[in-house]
Each structure stands twice: as C-alpha cells, then as structure tokens.
C-alpha cells in the first residue's frame, strides 16, 4: 500500500478518494454515489429507530470515557437507548475473541484497534460491511462526509476486497518529540533524515550528565513499532503478495542496525526494559534529547506538575529514511457486529460517534488525535484549546505520510512478541541480520497457519 504525499485541501482529498488506488477504488464505489446523493437530500431523519436499544462495547480509555459521557446526547437525538460496557484494552481484545467465537456476542457496536484487530475481525467476518448503509441515503447522514477523513484512517477502514468494516475515530502516528533546549545548546537543528538523526543523537548524548541522545521503547513487544518506523523509511515492508515475510530483507536489517545504534549506543542504560512510560519519564526530566513514540503525549509534556520541560518540547515529524518519509500509524475505530440484530441503530451510533462534534471534543479533551481534518481547525478556534500549534502541524503532516506501523495480520501479538525479543537482543549486542533471520523463520509458519485456517 504505497501512499504518495497529498495535500489536504478537501477537493484534493475528494478527488483522491474517488480516484485510483486500492483502498480508494473501494471507497470511490461507495462514496461517489452515496456522498453526492446523500448531500443532496434534505433533513435527515435521526428518529427513525426510536425506542430501539443497542449495546456498545468500548475500550477503557480517554476516548471511551468521552463517548460514554455524551451518550445521553445520542439518546436525545435518536430516541435509541444505549447500553455500554468499557473494558481495559487487553481484556477487551480477549473478550471480543471469545464473544465473537460464541456466535452470539452481547454487543452491537465494538471499538477496535486497527493494528491488532483489523485482520482478525475481517478474516473471521465478524464485522458488518457498511457499504449498503453508506449508500442508502435514508440511513447515511449527509454530514458524514468522507472527504473530511484523513487518508490513513480510511485506509484502515477499508479492506483489500473493498468492504468497509468500520468508521475510524482516532489516529496515532509516530512522531519525534525533541528537547529544544538541548538541541539549541549544541546548535543542532531538528534532523530531516535518518542520517542526520543518528548524527544528532551522537552529538547530544552526554553520559557524564546522564543525557541520552535518543530514547524509545526497548521492551519486547512494545518495541516493534520503533523498528518498523525505521523499516518503512528504508523502503521495506512486512509481507509480499504471496504472504511471505519480508522481515529479513536488507531494508529490515538496515532498520535493525539503526535500531541497535539508536537505542544501544545513544539510548539510556537499561533501555532494553523501557516501555513508553519509562521513556516518557526520562524525557519529562529533560534527560533525553529525542523520543520516538505515538503522538498522544503532548498533555503530560506540557503539564507543569509533571514536566520539567514545559515550553521546550518540539514536535517533529519522523525524519525521512533513505527511500521515503513515513510515519508509522496506529489507530482505532468502531464497527458493527455481524451478528447484531440492530444494525440500523448501530450504524446511527457509528455516525454519531465519528461526527465532527465528537471528534472536536476528542481533541479538546486531549483524548486522541481525531481522524476528521476539520476537527483541528474547530478545536484551535476554541479558547481553552491548549495543545501547541507545532503539535497540530506535526499531527496533520504525519497523518499525510502515515502508513500502518504493523502488518495487518491476525497473529499481530505473536509477531510483536517474536520480533520484539529479537530487537531486545539487538540492544544487548546481538547481530541484527541473524536475529531477524531467526525471528522470520520462527514466525513464518505461524503466519501461514493463521491465513490457512
């Protein structure tokens, strides 16, 4: 899924959406007719399913909290009664698998993490194809407007065969947080390429003062997106068209070497056991010059009660690799259970949850980075919006150059585990080529089996 850099004027977006490209063809088919027709229609009847009751299964997170807080608004709008359940992420994933396997899940709408659950849900046909409902103008609110959705989010929502299984809500592209004070002290500009990034890390590392030039996750499983961030920039990908892993290719090995240098050489002692929280606390103390992770950490970084570097944080787009500039992307959305008997009301819920109002609220509450482009302008115009301007710019640019940060496969967790161990071993000095070769050999049978069964 190669993805050129786009500008994000609505017109360009729409043309792109309706135009060529694997995902876009599918969306073109659905939205070309549906959007135009829908936008032509008059008042939309939200009360159509009045009196029905639906069950929503959410992940316990600031986003889940936010939606739940405003469920009353949806109930008032539609007359549909909402029952909802929120469970922590890991348990939500386990419960989803078990409930879907039972053939009679207790929910109509489910929140999903694309990087973990997309392939699993699609392969098992657990989600309802939304295309018929998007095309039906009595069911699709004219304000749905797919042109407002960032491309990275739409790519996640659409399957290779054209099915649309979900509406995206939140995007989490990976960015480089940097400490402007440390950069300025050494007279270094924010790096534009991988080579400059390594160079900057080398210059900024000062073990005497306990300052690491770079910090990111070293803990197995959690660390895989760091490596894939490099891998994508080197022009690598995860799997070829025949389902063969490309994770021991020369690009993958180059990315492994970069990972080894950035963490092993310029990272803090003990980084092999660091997850995002250890990395964050180091960066918050001003003890790391660069930190590569998801975009969602602006709030603690700008909070004077937690951070020693308020106002000194730079939000940088992932530098370009030798082949291309890519931000590794993660995200979540909501879909409708294929077993649901309330698909209409559930579809109304999906549209409400992803509407501009809720997306703007998400940004204002710092609960995530909305997939709707219009939410950024809307939030910035409000006076109590605190996120720095550079953060917003970084988000919009990153979302444009974003690609999935993990392979879209069912056994993602096992992929992260196997390659995560290999990466941790690299930090401790193991040879990247040998480690990746072994991990690829170990994981290929798991992948083959998952696609066959």
């Amino acid at each position: 899924m190669s993805q050129p850099i786009h500008d994000d004027r609505p017109d360009a977006l729409r043309r792109r959406l309706l135009g060529a490209g694997a995902g876009a063809v599918a969306l073109g088919a659905l939205s070309g007719a549906a959007l135009i027709q829908a936008q032509g229609s008059g008042a939309f009847d939200w009360k159509r399913f009045k009196g029905e009751k639906i069950e929503i299964f959410l992940v316990k997170s600031p986003r889940g909290d936010l939606l739940t807080r405003f469920h009353k608004e949806f109930e008032d709008l539609t007359g549909i009664v909402v029952g909802s359940e929120m469970v922590p992420e890991q348990q939500q994933r386990q419960k989803a698998v078990i409930e879907f396997n039972s053939g009679n899940p207790s929910f109509d709408v489910i929140a999903l993490s694309y990087h973990v659950q997309k392939r699993q849900f699609a392969k098992n046909n657990w989600l309802t194809d939304l295309r018929p409902m998007i095309a039906d103008k009595s069911l699709a609110d004219p304000a749905l407007d797919f042109a407002d959705f960032a491309q990275g989010g739409l790519n996640y929502a659409v399957e290779p065969d054209g099915r649309v299984n979900s509406l995206p809500l939140n995007l989490d592209p990976w960015v480089v947080y940097y400490n402007k004070e440390l950069f300025d002290a050494k007279g270094i500009a924010f790096p534009k390429t991988f080579a400059e990034m390594q160079d900057a890390a080398a210059k900024l590392t000062d073990s005497g003062k306990g300052i690491a030039g770079f910090v990111a996750r070293g803990l197995k499983n959690a660390n895989v997106p760091v490596w894939t961030s490099f891998l994508l920039g080197y022009g690598g990908s995860f799997i070829d068209g025949k389902g063969k892993l490309l994770t021991d290719s020369s690009e993958a090995i180059d990315a492994g070497k970069m990972y080894q240098v950035m963490l092993g050489k310029y990272g803090p002692p003990g980084v092999a056991g660091f997850n995002w929280n250890e990395s964050q606390s180091l960066f918050l103390q001003g003890k790391a010059a660069m930190w590569l992770d998801g975009i969602g950490f602006a709030q603690p970084l700008e909070d004077p009660t937690k951070s020693r570097i308020v106002g000194k944080v730079g939000y940088g787009v992932m530098p370009a690799g030798p082949k291309r500039q890519v931000s590794a992307l993660f995200g979540d959305g909501e879909g409708i259970s294929t077993y649901s008997k309330k698909k209409g009301p559930a579809w109304f819920y999906l549209q409400w949850a992803s509407n501009k109002m809720n997306q703007t609220r998400m940004l204002q509450a710092a609960a995530g980075a909305p997939v709707r482009n219009s939410a950024y302008a809307a939030a910035q115009s409000s006076s109590d919006f605190k996120a720095p301007k550079q953060w917003v710019e970084c988000m919009l640019t990153s979302a444009r150059i974003a690609q999935p940060g993990l392979p879209v496969i069912s056994p993602v967790t096992e992929f992260r585990d196997v390659f995560g161990v290999a990466l941790t071993n690299m930090i401790n000095g193991a040879d990247p080529a040998a480690e990746l070769k072994k991990a690829t050999a170990d994981f290929q049978p798991v992948l083959d089996k998952s696609e066959k069964a």
């Binding site: 698998v97 197995k220 056991g273 250890e278 967790t413 096992e414 585990d417």
Partner: protein, 301 residues
Amino acid sequence: MNSPALPIPYRPGFLARRRRAYYFFAVPALVVVGAVIIFPWLFTVWMSVFDWRIGSVAHFVGLENYIKLATNQRFLESIVHTFYFTLLAVILPLILGTAAALIFHREFPFRGVLRGIFTMPMMATPVAVALVWTMMFHPQQGVLNYLLSLVGLPPSLWVYSQTLVIPSLVLVEVWHWTPLVMLIVLGGLAALPTEPYESAKLDGATEWQLFRYITFPLLAPFLIVAAVIRTIDALKAFDTIYVISQGGPGTASETINLYLYLQAFAFYNVGNASAVVVVFFIIILALALVLLHVREKTKWI
C-alpha cells in the same frame, strides 16, 4: 427405659443397602470435585493433543505439541527461570523471616507496634506493589540507584538488565512475603515448651547451641509449612513479574506462567498452552513429592 438395646437384626442385604446410603452422601462432593477439578483437567489433556487456535478449526496432532515443547528453547529456558526464581524466592524469605521472628520473639520496647509495621507489606495489593517497585527500579530516576549513590556505589540496572532481572524481582518478593514467614515462625516459637531451654541452660549450653539443638528442630515443622506455602506462591507468581518486567528484558525473566499466559491469552494458541499446563502440572507434582519426602525426613534435624 430399661429395655435392652436390641442387637442389629441380621438381614440379607442390610449392609449393602447401608453402604449404598453412604455413597449417596458422597455425591455432592464428587460432583464438585468432578466439575471443578477432574473435568477441567481431563479437558486440558484433551486439548493438548490438538493444534487449536481460538477462531480456527482444531486438528488432532497427537503428541506433536509435547514434542515441540521438548525442543522449544524458549519454553525450556522458562522452566529454568521458574526454578531460579522459586529457589531464591523461597530460601531468602525463609532465612530472613526466621531471623525476624527470633528478634520479635524477644521482649523489647514497642515490640507490638514494630511487629505490626513489619507485617504491613503483606497487606498491600501485589499489582500496586509491583507498580511502585517499577518506579523505584528506574535506572535513571529510581530511588534505589539514588540510595546506592549515597553510599558511593555505582548505579545498577535492576530489572532492566538481563542478568539482574530475576534477583531484582526476588527482592520485591522478599520484601512482600518475608512477613508471612515471620508470622508462621513466630507462631511456632510461641508454642515451644520452655523446659528444654531451662535444663539446657543448667547444663551450660551456649545461645547458638540452644538455637541449633532445641529451637531449630522444634521449629522444623513450622519451617516446612512456611516453605511449602512460599513454594506454592513462588511457582504461581505472575502478577509481580508481569507488571514489572513482562518477562523481559527479552525473555530473561519469562517464567512458565508468563509463557503460558502469552500462548493462551495473547496468541490464543490453546493446544500448545494446554500442553504447557500438563508439563507444568507434572513438574509441580514431582516437586510436591520431593517436599513430602523432605517432610518425612525432617526428623534428622
């Protein structure tokens, strides 16, 4: 009321009927044991001979899961980690707990209050304990390295090092569970008779001799109980390790339980996970036999 007690009249089948009546009363217990122990156990064994991931069709594979485990380096290492962790997490609290009990058994001011304070770690929730220790272990911001620096020692990587991670996890375990051993041993000390000490003192025994030849042998049954409880706890340790190191760095602290959790609940690899459970069960069974044997032998002390 002086009619003589009638002998039980002999009737054919009487005893057999009576025995049948006994069986009836055992049924509830049998049902419970069958439902919560026997059936899950047999079902686990049954699943372990299938290649089955949740969401896909199960294939019968015979002993393949077991054969793969026998050559699975990661699984074999997890057994070693489990034993290493268990050994340290049993012996250290046992020694320290006994020492603490001996101290708290003596009379000194504020003994009651201090004893209460000493047992407080035991009351804390394991996950909360683990989270706090994770912060203390942080190699740059953790308080432990700060304390080391105060006495002029170089910083340590604690749970962030592949070689130190298990001893560091044991440290948490020791802090958390030494009080339990202390309480058990203290109970034992309180139950000891005073006469042997008096006569030994009359014979001129030293403090060490009192401990070695009187206290220790009399305490042995209590120590065994403490050791058994600690072994069970250490073998099933999961929450502390999962929260602090997640089995890492790499797989350096991955015990059987963590490996099992990954296989079953992260990879949904039910067949393989069941085989791990069966192997683990056999290991525990063997260990239990050893402990029983040791208990029989404690008379030597």
